[in-house]
């Protein structure tokens, strides 16, 4: 039940007639020598933490220490409830608002689950909770969705990378978006290969995304990239469920992401030396927050 690539994961799942989540659970039981109940219990606690972060983010007045972020999740929820027309629809905006909520709680040094990292922690909770509401999923389906997402993240982390410092934001928010897309496909009853297509479709739309945090903080543009990651994950899942396939196989998309990350300059990999961090306004925020002079290479 060991897998290394998405192709192997899908092959095991489809020949054994198992969901991706089940393959991940069996793999975990085998590798870590733990019982199914034990593993399920730990993942269920992670889901609890995600729920609490969403709840905080959409109801409380979250404000980060720097003052750069906070309050947008609540703002989007109010818009959903009061706007006469929603251009992208309630489901997508719900996912966006919940992803924003968790990401804002993270920026304010609240408690979150790194999925796969803290910088990208909003996308998976936002999409899973929204899909669950839409599909009337039970709790077990939601916990299983975290295992499905975990399986995708496991492949990306072991074949490429998942941190902004190593591979840019495509590795961080990109991985989370791909993981979430696969997870909600399974929640909606899609096949393992549909989940893999959703991974490819989601990740290819994140390729090249740089990691350029203003003042080095996990806030701007991170919170909004979490918001948009959730939107991409939901739409990628729908495309895959519709039967749309990626021209480039999923594992090759992951490999392309890795190679793009390796060829990305250090200034664009979480060092706050380039991109949005190096704009006049980015630098002005940095001076206001830290009272320092401009950084240069």
């Amino acid at each position: 039940m060991r897998f290394r690539t998405m192709a192997e994961l899908v092959e095991i799942a489809e020949t054994e007639n198992l969901k991706i989540s089940e393959v991940m659970i069996l793999h975990e039981m085998d590798v870590m020598n733990r019982s199914r109940e034990d593993i399920f219990e730990e993942m269920s606690r992670n889901l609890d933490v995600m729920e609490q972060a969403i709840q905080r983010g959409v109801t409380e007045d979250i404000r980060s220490h720097s003052g750069l972020t906070g309050g947008d999740a609540k703002r989007i929820q109010q818009y959903i409830n009061s706007a006469p027309v929603l251009l992208s629809g309630k489901t997508v905006l719900d996912a966006v608002s919940r992803a924003t909520a968790v990401s804002e709680v993270n920026a304010a040094m609240g408690t979150i689950v790194a999925t796969p990292t803290a910088g990208a922690c909003g996308i998976l909770p936002g999409t899973i909770h929204t899909a669950a509401k839409k599909l009337n999923s039970d709790r077990e389906t939601m916990v299983r969705a975290l295992f499905t997402a975990g399986a995708v993240g496991y492949v990306i982390a072991n074949n490429a990378c998942i941190s902004g410092a190593a591979g840019g934001c495509q590795a961080e928010v990109g991985s989370a978006t791909a993981m979430a897309a696969a997870a909600v496909v399974e929640m909606a009853g899609g096949t393992p290969s549909m989940s893999a297509e959703a991974v490819a479709i989601a990740l290819k739309n994140m390729l090249g995304l740089v990691c350029d945090p203003v003042a080095g903080l996990v806030e701007a543009p991170c919170v909004k990239r979490n918001a948009m990651g959730a939107a991409i994950a939901m739409v990628a899942a729908d495309l895959a469920l519709a039967g749309v396939k990626s021209v480039i196989p999923t594992d090759e998309v992951i490999d392309a992401m890795y190679k793009i990350g390796q060829s990305m300059p250090v200034a664009l990999k979480e060092t706050a030396l380039g991109g949005l961090a190096a704009t006049p306004t980015g630098r002005a925020h940095e001076r206001r927050i830290f009272g320092t002079t401009d950084k240069s290479e």
Binding site: M43, T115, P116, I162, A166
Partner: protein, 218 residues
């Protein structure tokens, strides 16, 4: 495989804002504290790469301090770790370095008190996962997930076999093992990741073997 368990991906539960810079840093600090084995008086922390550039914004400083105070990644006291360290009489200083390191998120921690000092270098590899790559000048590869037995010993024949046979007698399986030495016949370090925990009785049995200078379990 760098990542073994699904909970490296969906987890850890942690205080924001960055798994590499906050949770990973807290785990490096905590590992250093465990290796040192007691509360240090002074800690000099050198930060490299992205850690050096962005540590204040990411709370890397408070996370490392939290780890040195033995706090877990989700411990809310991390937010006030620098103040708590001061109250507990631990003097922690941070030194950003421009020196290039192999990994972008690297921290070198020198822990000291009147009894001695330990120097630990850790890297934060993403998603809250870290590795200790150097201890007192010895190269290491520790995942920080499995129990790790560190044995300082004299570089001589039979040393590794004796330690391994004690573990085997106690039905402890070796998952990964590495031996490093500075020069032939000098001091060497065995780092052994085990599937089962190594209890105090087994540790003292190893400590009493000839040629063993020190035993620590992480």
């Amino acid at each position: 495989m760098k990542y073994r368990t699904v909970f490296d991906i969906i987890g850890p539960v942690m205080i924001g804002p960055s798994s590499s810079h906050t949770a990973g840093a807290a785990r490096i600090g905590r590992a250093a504290r465990k290796i040192f084995g007691r509360k240090p008086k002074r800690v000099k922390i050198t930060l490299y790469g992205s850690f050096a550039k962005t540590y204040r914004g990411h709370g890397t400083d408070i996370a490392l301090a939290g780890g040195i105070l033995d706090f877990d990644t989700f411990d809310k006291r991390i937010v006030h770790a620098l103040d708590i360290a001061k109250e507990e009489g631990i003097d922690i200083t941070f030194h950003p370095s421009d020196e290039l390191t192999e990994h972008p998120n690297t921290a070198r921690l020198l822990l000291e008190d009147e009894q001695g000092s330990v120097e630990v270098t850790g890297i934060s590899i993403g998603g809250g996962k870290m590795e200790i790559v150097e201890l007192n000048g010895f190269d290491l590869r520790l995942s920080g997930n499995d129990p790790v037995l560190l044995v300082l010993h004299k570089d001589q024949f039979g040393a590794v076999a004796k330690v391994a046979s004690v573990l085997a007698n106690h039905q402890i399986n070796i998952a990964f093992m590495q031996v490093s030495r500075k020069e032939k016949g000098a001091q060497a370090l065995m780092s052994i990741e085990t599937d089962q925990p190594v209890g105090p009785d087994v540790q003292s049995e190893i400590r009493n073997l000839p040629g063993i200078d020190g035993v620590t379990v992480l």
